[in-house]
């Protein structure tokens, strides 16, 4: 382990499809904590080893809330003092997380599996009825998680045209201008405030209704602003990532035909395959959500000083040879798979169990209904999103 003394521009390269820049592997082996500079904000450390990434994300000596007072390293020019659950530490963070954690336990999510399957089957029916080709993004990957989160939260599916556009503002690095980001976030917050007002008039048995009740029964548990931000966060996070991962997973499978054939032969591998794909796909396209050290923390010969920010490279941690055998290989039957695709620690993805279930249903349904699934026009016909925090196709022509 060495310290080069160099500060690298980050991200190291423009994301290309789902390739992981080989420089991560070099750093992980030679300089697991290195200095980086994002386009804006102060320089930071970058952690690339699995163990270090978990420490930065899970150890209470690292804080998200501290970023609110700093010129945080970021991809976009303007500081967004959004606050919200992703900029809080326990115990404040716990107060909000507890309000929604119950709705996303594995037990509760399993109750949604039947309905999710119904939605997936309906989408597959519509694809099949339309001929022998489709855009997997528009006709399957987007409507599946959007329908599920709309029904869970209590947001009208008909409004998706609007909130899909606004959602990008929360994930934009360069796709939108600062003014567009601000306008979209205001539109989204206004839309959610309107839905919340409706719930107050007509209580309903959905998650939004439950949050409104929690707020109105006890003002100390949840402020009005927190209620709006939390609901918006659930709507955005509830579909953007899963909608990206469905075509990402299909892309990986279609470019690994031997593994795809194995999964078709052994569909009972689907849950393991989902975990392996979560490990294998570098979903993040940029650095985000730095943690600040509250005291000096030692990583081998490197000491992160109190007040210094650290970013993590989850995709690099997910290929750490200390943890995963043949880490660069795709093995859909991999049994021990402690990937950090959902993060780690108090901010571990709230919707992880929901995402897992949706991805399992999506994959199983596509394999079963479209045995001849292939790229329509080859992998080069896939159009990739740019300027967002996550990678994924915006258009994925498939045929069967």
């Amino acid at each position: 382990m060495t310290v080069s003394g160099e500060t690298y521009a980050y991200p190291f390269s423009e994301p290309h499809r789902l390739d992981l820049d080989p420089f991560y592997a070099k750093l992980r082996a030679e300089e697991p904590l290195c200095r980086i500079r994002l386009p804006y904000g102060e320089p930071a450390w970058l952690a690339t080893r699995h163990e270090d990434v978990r420490t930065v994300l899970g150890d209470p000596r690292f804080s998200r809330a501290a970023a609110l007072e700093r010129d945080e390293p970021r991809m976009h020019a303007h500081l967004r003092r959004q606050g919200g659950i992703l900029a809080m530490d326990p115990p404040d963070h716990t107060r909000l997380r507890r309000l929604v954690a119950k709705a996303f336990t594995m037990r509760r999510v399993e109750l949604l599996r039947g309905r999710t399957q119904e939605i997936a089957d309906g989408l597959a029916d519509a694809m099949a009825a339309g001929g022998d080709r489709a855009d997997l993004v528009e006709q399957f990957a987007l409507p599946l998680p959007i329908t599920v989160i709309c029904e869970l939260l209590g947001v009208p599916f008909e409004d998706r045209g609007d909130f899909r556009i606004w959602s990008d503002a929360f994930l934009s690095t360069s796709k939108l201008t600062g003014q567009q980001v601000q306008d979209h976030i205001e539109s989204m917050n206004g839309y959610m405030a309107h839905l919340i007002a409706e719930r107050r008039e007509r209580p309903a048995d959905d998650l939004l209704g439950a949050l409104v009740r929690a707020r109105d029964e006890d003002n100390d548990r949840l402020s009005e602003e927190e209620l709006v931000q939390l609901a918006v966060g659930l709507l955005v996070a509830g579909h953007e990532t899963t909608a990206s991962q469905i075509p990402n997973f299909v892309y990986v499978l279609l470019t690994h035909p031997e593994e795809l054939a194995r999964l078709r032969r052994e569909p009972e591998l689907v849950p393991r395959a989902v975990e392996e794909l979560l490990r294998f796909v570098p979903l993040g396209a940029a650095g985000a959500f730095p943690r600040y050290a509250l005291e000096d923390v030692e990583f081998g010969p490197v000491t992160v000083r109190a007040g210094e920010p650290v970013l993590v490279a989850a995709a690099a941690a997910n290929r750490d040879p200390e943890v995963f055998s043949d880490p660069e290989g795709l093995d859909l039957g991999r049994s021990d798979n402690p990937h950090v695709g959902f993060g780690h620690g108090p901010h571990h993805c709230l919707g992880a169990q929901l995402a897992r279930m949706e991805l399992q249903v999506a994959l199983e349904t596509l394999l079963r209904r479209f045995p001849g699934l292939r790229f329509d026009g080859g992998p080069d016909a896939v159009v990739w999103k740019t300027g967002l925090l996550v990678r994924g196709p915006s258009l994925m022509p498939v045929a069967w």
Binding site: G58, P90, K102, G345
Partner: protein, 91 residues
Amino acid sequence: MQKDGGAVGGDAGREEGDGLWEVAVDRERCIGSGICVGTAPGRFVLTGGRSGPVRAFVGPDGAVLDAAESCPMEAVTVRERGTGRLLAPEE
């Protein structure tokens, strides 16, 4: 011992707790998310990728209840020592 989720207060007085809580993690269910470790600092530790309590018996501490309520796998349980009454997670 009462069964899981026995009526709170229903059998009050029949058995007495000693004021301590028993914290347990079902390692079969645990997915090693680290949520409990971050939510209740000093109360849980990951070993071999799975969580366990640092000490099985603790004085009353809201943070361990938070940890149990925040676990997506409902793998963390907190019980009153002596009576076995389940304090968290809520059913």
